[in-house]
């Protein structure tokens, strides 16, 4: 893209001087990704075409059956449900995270840093402990029920746990900081003079927000969606503990294939499908939101 800095400068400079900047900036990350992501990934792709043997090992027999197996209403249903919950979580994260990030970005940098810290601190404790706390809070004899019963609002304890709603709340408590951080990084650099210009030109506040603020902070929104939607799609600990064990999401399904059923080839093909599906969504999403700068492909 920015050809002037890179490859097309073909003067008398030595090879290294020409390629130095490219190598020194993109070299480490490329090597790291190749070794620790691409090679393992190629192996996963490879075993997704293999077969499970009787005792749960891998037989090196090429087959497409694992992929055919996925195209069943059963597994599509699991995928659909996972997408739905992840989508709801992402939307709520945006609705909560954007105003908060905006609020924080409006503060002087020192205060902002502290406010960001305040968002993050709870997440440096353990996620399982937090999960169990949500569980304790909503238990039949937990604080909420006890208080409600003490003040006489209810006579029987409420069943608050084990529903899709509480799963979303669990996902939210796990994911919220991941929406605030990218949003903050992007809103913070927002040029306030543009907003003032818009206002001076007579635009109403909500028009300014929609036409100026949102487009300018789009990279942050994209980042937030990526960092919240994708991980909540694959999470299984939260849905299992808060869903009462009756919700099967794609994360649990993949885990089961690798650990319980010991059908690694099928698990691998599910994982590959999940990767392809999400990459496709990210691609469409970045095109639609005109964020080609983010360069997914």
């Amino acid at each position: 893209m920015n050809e002037k800095n890179g490859i097309t400068v073909k003067d008398k400079k030595s090879w290294f001087r020409r390629n130095g900047p490219v190598l020194s900036t993109t070299g480490p990350i490329s090597v790291w990704m190749l070794v620790f992501v691409l090679i393992p990934m190629l192996y996963i792709i490879f075993i997704s075409f293999m077969t499970r043997d009787v005792y749960g090992g891998i037989v090196y027999d090429f087959t497409l059956d694992n992929y055919k197996e996925i195209i069943q209403p059963l597994y599509l249903k699991v995928i659909w449900k996972s997408l739905k919950l992840a989508f709801i979580t992402t939307v709520i994260c945006l609705l909560l995270g954007y105003p908060l990030a905006y609020y924080i970005a409006g503060k002087p940098s020192k205060t902002a840093a502290k406010l960001i810290m305040l968002v993050m601190i709870p997440y440096w404790t353990n996620s399982l402990v937090r999960l169990y706390s949500v569980n304790l809070l909503g238990a039949t004899n937990g604080p909420i029920n006890n208080i409600l019963m003490d003040i006489g609002l209810i006579s029987e304890p409420l069943d608050m746990l084990y529903s899709d709603g509480i799963v979303v709340i669990g996902l939210l408590t796990a994911m919220l900081p991941f929406s605030v951080l990218p949003l903050y990084a992007s809103i913070e650099k927002l040029d306030k003079s543009l907003l003032e210009a818009s206002r001076d030109l007579g635009a109403r506040p909500h028009i300014t927000f929609l036409k100026v603020t949102i487009p300018l902070t789009m990279p942050g929104i994209v980042g937030c969606v990526l960092l919240v939607f994708i991980p909540s799609l694959g999470m299984y600990y939260v849905p299992e503990a808060l869903g009462g064990g009756k919700v099967m999401l794609i994360g649990s399904l993949v885990r089961n294939q690798f650990l319980v059923t010991k059908n690694w080839p099928f698990g691998a093909s599910l994982a590959i499908l999940l990767v392809l599906m999400t990459l496709a969504m990210v691609w469409i999403y970045t095109r639609v939101s005109k964020m080609d700068d983010l360069e997914v492909f």
């Binding site: 499970r52 009787v54 005792y55 749960g56 090992g57 059963l74 597994y75 249903k77 699991v78 449900k81 569980n135 238990a139 039949t140 004899n141 937990g142 304890p157 746990l161 084990y162 299992e240 503990a241 009462g244 064990g245 009756k246 919700v247 099967m248 649990s252 399904l253 089961n256 294939q257 690798f258 650990l259 319980v260 059923t261 010991k262 059908n263 099928f266």
Partner: protein
């Protein structure tokens, strides 16, 4: 610039402080050698004093690291990580795959003179007829418990768990190989069935069961019993030992159906670097006095070593969790490898959970 420098300085300082503290305490990776024994097992499943006793007796340093499930330990072995450990604790259901896959080292029974104390029922088992691969540590039953004050029905078999009166009243362990065997037994089939038609029937049975289940979790199903959210539990005996101190009205149901027994085995993974130490440890563990001391120190579970049980106080022997009604103790079945049928089980299990 100054901010940057400050940031960099903070990072650098932190890194250095940590590196130093680690160099000092030697918390990093320790050298492999003769004097070490690396165990990979459940957390809080063995007394510290018991381990210290072994260290004192032999001079071997024991490192214990913790697994989250037997399946995970098995996966770690199959992925090739076994040679890092000297003893690993999978459950009996995973044994066939591990043995057939060649992931285990043969145990030399000559080094384990205390093997005789192990109850005969746990010697020469189907998956290991010559006792070459696995030595049981402790075990667990999966049985039905109920609260006599709140449970609306009498439970004498798994079939009773389908009673409409129990809607939303059951807290249950999860897992393919805990749920399906129960259904198969209730239907009069082999709990380790490999027939598609029987598995499908079991799925239909479990669909009804799920209507009555409020909470399904193999880690903490007992919390719903303690919070009196449920009046019936289909749980491990280890979970029941956690219920009783909170509320001792609970009873084990006198089932006529057989109950499931799971055994936590110690195996030596292929390529283990300290095999002799592992065998010495197994020998130490099988000594009835050592095992009894281990259990007395807050690790009360069902034990395959009757001589050790003899040494236990009545509070253990008469505990509702272990002193089971009728002949339930002997009327058990084990989880066996079901081969390719596992795929069928998995499909129906997924169906069960995506209703």
């Amino acid at each position: 610039m100054s901010r940057l420098k400050k940031l960099a300085a903070i990072f650098l300082a932190l890194t250095m402080v940590f590196s130093f503290s680690f160099a000092l305490t030697g918390c990093g990776e320790e050298e492999e050698g003769s004097g070490v024994l690396n165990i990979y097992m459940w957390s809080d499943y063995m007394s510290d004093d018991f381990v210290a006793g072994f260290e004192e007796e032999t001079g071997v340093k024991v490192n214990i690291s913790y697994m989250n499930s037997s399946e995970e330990a098995t996966a770690k072995l199959t992925a090739g990580g076994g040679d890092e450990y000297d003893l690993v604790m999978p459950c009996d259901a995973d044994m066939t795959g591990l043995i057939e896959g060649g992931y285990l080292e043969e145990i030399n029974l000559d080094n384990i003179t205390n093997f005789e104390y192990l109850d005969d029922a746990y010697k020469n088992r189907e998956f290991d007829p010559e006792n070459k691969y696995a030595i049981p540590y402790l075990m667990n039953y999966v049985y039905v418990v109920y609260n006599p004050e709140t449970c609306p029905v009498e439970i004498t078999g798994y079939e009773d768990l389908l009673s409409p009166e129990l809607e939303g009243e059951i807290a249950s362990v999860d897992g393919i190989r805990n749920l399906f065997p129960m259904a198969l037994v209730a239907l009069g089939y082999d709990p380790n069935s490999t027939k598609d038609s029987e598995i499908e029937e079991a799925y239909e049975w479990l669909k009804d069961y799920m209507k009555n289940v409020k909470y399904l979790n193999s880690d903490d199903a007992e919390k719903e019993l303690i919070s009196s959210g449920c009046s019936v539990g289909f749980i491990f005996d280890g979970m029941f030992t956690r219920v009783l101190p909170e509320d001792d009205t609970w009873e084990v149901a006198a089932l006529e159906d057989p109950i499931q027994l799971g055994v936590d085995e110690f195996v030596i993974p292929a390529g283990a670097k300290n095999k002799e130490n592992a065998e010495a440890f197994l020998n130490y563990m099988l000594d009835p006095e050592n095992m009894a001391a281990n259990m007395k120190d807050g690790h009360e579970y069902t034990c395959p070593n009757s001589a050790a049980v003899e040494l236990m106080p009545d509070s253990y022997k008469k505990s509702k969790a272990f002193d089971l009604p009728g002949d339930l103790r002997e009327n058990y079945f084990l989880q066996l490898d079901v081969g390719d049928a596992m795929k069928t089980y998995d499909k129906y299990y997924t169906m069960l959970k995506s209703e």
